[in-house]
Amino acid sequence: MKKVLSMLLIAMLVCTSVFANGGSEKTSAVNPDGTVTIELWYGAAITEAGPIPDDWVGYQILRDEHGIDLHLSVLPSNESDQDVRIQAAAAGNSLPDIFMVSRPVLTRLVDQGLVAEVDDYYALMPNRTAQQYDADSKAMTTIDGHSYGFASPGSVAKNEGLLIRKDWLDNLGLEVPTNLDELMEVMKAFTYDDPDGNGRDDTYGYGAYIESDATLKGYPGARLFPILGAFGVDGLWCLEEENLGLNVYKPEFYDAMVYIRQMCEEGVMDPNWLTYKKDDFRAAWKQGRFGIMKEQNAAYAAESNYAPFDANFPDGEWIIIDPPEGPDGLASVGAYDQNYRIYAISQDAVDEGKAEKICELLEWMSSDEGYYLCGWGQEGVNYVLDENGIPVTGDLGDASFSGPDGQVYTQLRNMVFYNSDVELASRYPTYTTATSGKTMSALTALREMQSKYWTAAIGSGQMPTPNADVQRFYEQTLAEFLSGQRALTPENWQAFLDGFNSIGGKAWNDEGVAYAQANGLVR
């Protein structure tokens, strides 16, 4: 009896201790060996690949030359998961020393007093500040007059374009549409006149999916920006002096909704658009399901992304076109903001006296050594420099910075990249497509996309976000209008606006207007 019990006890103890792999005990600022432990939660560059291996040379360099014992932890790849994980750690008052965080969550952490002010620390990293932290960047992390984190540039601005299947236009003898009426005609022809000549009714005019948020891309989202832009209502907020406020209040927004609804009724919109997720949408255009879309430059033109389309349709060709003009002559590819990744420092880290070391770490990342090491890995192992000083893969194979073994060493590159010409040239090399032999480059595509007309909405990312019920009301009602559950009539539209105002939309709008005015976002 006792034997059994003690066996049980031992078995349990063994179970719990065997599988207990050394925890991260809270350390004082300075370790016995004189190094300072810095815990960093980062957003991985290639989320589906593994974490940085333990033999990364950066660890050694930081320990030997800077006395920093760096502990890395990858954040989940999904934004909501990230928010949950950060906020759980915050609730336990156990935030890491430095961590990536979205602006809405940052606001709440500041409110809880968990995040340190960093106004004074920019001066400690002159090089990095010059490279990454300009006035817009500082504005992104400023809450009530103080900066609460470092905002590094995210993706390149204006990196999307309106694309059309040139080969379909040629097959049907059509011109590139320049206004909404012509666009509708082209979309109809793409849907009903068998543009790919395969004898089947399996094509649509426009392809999209719902990609919306509560700051820049209001429902129905960025994929429809070129249509909304023709009515001057692209983007959630209008930051122009005259019509400052939510775009949905503009009468033109109703007209844009009517046009989109018409696209659905005419059957020219891929009916899957309400159920597509990003991956489905991208798989769909590679299968030639629709002829007009708004797509990101690399998702369209980078070698691995374009390859399946090229193999499926060697004669297929997408071209980047000007956004169509609306009834009042307006046109825009979409609203754009500068994208940032915010890294905040916890109040605890500052209290423990780690702030200077954290700045030293960040400054090292922006030194030549750190920049190349984090961005591309080791020279000769993960990359080689070409004649223009651009890091390229050369013949390094799997160990190269884009190969399966090498890419894990570049997981931190989002912390060092700032969209310099070297980066862009390295990331978007010119190549020849395998099947059709076209010469393509995502960089050329990017430059062309950037040359089109865009609506500036700089600062949208800082705008106040609504309460979840307000956001639901907004999205749900617009979705019901578009899916036809709710008839799109002026009366119903007015009823929607009234309901929106009363549930808290008006308050949200007023808050946003006040914020924009107070922070100089109005143009």
Partner: protein
């Protein structure tokens, strides 16, 4: 309750102290699980006091200020409260009504099937869908149901019908939720009933057969009564968590055009509470769900013990 006493317990009530002493090795056996249970289940309940507090992380659970029932009233007064409650109840009752019978019938069919290969195949395949996470299930449902490329709509079109956007129509969506859940979980929940069926004394069947009962009667009078205690237990346990209508499923499947029929309490809490650092509110809703579940379990347990002796929870 009084009727339930077995003859053994009818003997004069034994001395409590002696009874406890007599069972001392039972208590010893209980010791570790009990301590574990208290630590892992009751400490969080103690921490749940943040439901009545304005939780500030720096002040901790104990240091945060009491705010009474503010978090609860915030939830009750929220714009969509009644709709959330309605949707939640609709899905959880719907799932009980559809999934439970399906898995019972499946388990009996597996038990009764005489084709060895067929039985083994179904038994082995039926539980596989349980492994598809809802992220994947979205892909499966998309492949089946999407209006312009789904398998089901392809078939509808083949017969000249108009495609239906199952995932974004308020009429079809609840059925997609209920049936996809039944499909995913039926084999998995059947396992427990199969385990119960396995312990039926087969000599009962032989006896019934001798007495001339046919197969239907066998199922009706032997099989079902034999697994009834397990069915009742599963049902009562499901009723205890009646306000959990399946967060993961809903979070993956819903979209703005079906919010009115798809938003449930848990998805609301996720958006409003967990993503917004309103942990007091989130915990308050958890407690509210618990109270409702508690009441329902007590009531249904009472009903069960009145009509079916011996199969109540406690």
């Amino acid at each position: 309750m009084k009727k339930k006493d077995s003859p053994e317990l009818m003997v004069p009530k034994p001395n409590l102290r002696r009874e406890i002493l007599r069972h001392k090795d039972v208590y010893l056996l209980l010791l570790i699980p009990f301590v574990f249970y208290i630590v892992f289940k009751y400490v969080p309940i103690f921490n749940a006091q943040i439901a009545f507090k304005n939780f500030r992380a720096r002040d901790g659970v104990l240091g945060s200020a009491w705010i009474g029932l503010q978090n609860f009233t915030d939830f009750f007064n929220s714009f969509y409260f009644w709709e959330l409650l309605r949707n939640t109840l609709m899905y959880s009752f719907g799932k009980i009504i559809i999934s439970l019978p399906v898995s019972i019938i499946l388990s009996i069919a597996i038990y009764e099937c005489t084709h060895y290969a067929l039985r083994k195949t179904v038994q082995t395949l039926a539980y596989l869908p349980h492994f598809l996470s809802w992220v994947i299930m979205y892909g499966v449902l998309f492949a089946l149901l999407s209006p312009s490329s789904g398998i089901l709509n392809d078939i509808i079109k083949l017969f000249g019908g108009t495609p239906i956007d199952f995932l974004s129509s308020v009429h079809a969506f609840p059925w997609v939720v209920l049936l996809s859940d039944a499909w995913k979980e039926m084999g998995w929940s059947a396992i427990i009933f199969i385990a119960a069926l396995m312990s039926i004394d087969v000599s009962l069947f032989e006896a019934a057969m001798v007495e001339g009962a046919n197969s239907w009667q066998r199922v009706r009078y032997i099989t079902l009564p034999a697994i009834k205690p397990v069915i009742v237990t599963v049902l009562l346990l499901k009723i205890g968590t009646i306000l959990d209508a399946g967060f993961n499923q809903m979070y993956m499947l819903y979209s703005p055009q079906v919010y009115s029929i798809a938003d449930i309490i848990d998805t609301w809490v996720y958006r409003q509470g967990l993503l917004n650092f309103q942990f007091g509110l989130a915990t308050a809703v958890g407690l509210f769900k618990g109270i409702i579940g508690m009441i329902l379990v007590l009531v249904s347990n009472k009903l069960v013990s009145r009509f079916n002796e011996g199969s109540s929870l406690f």
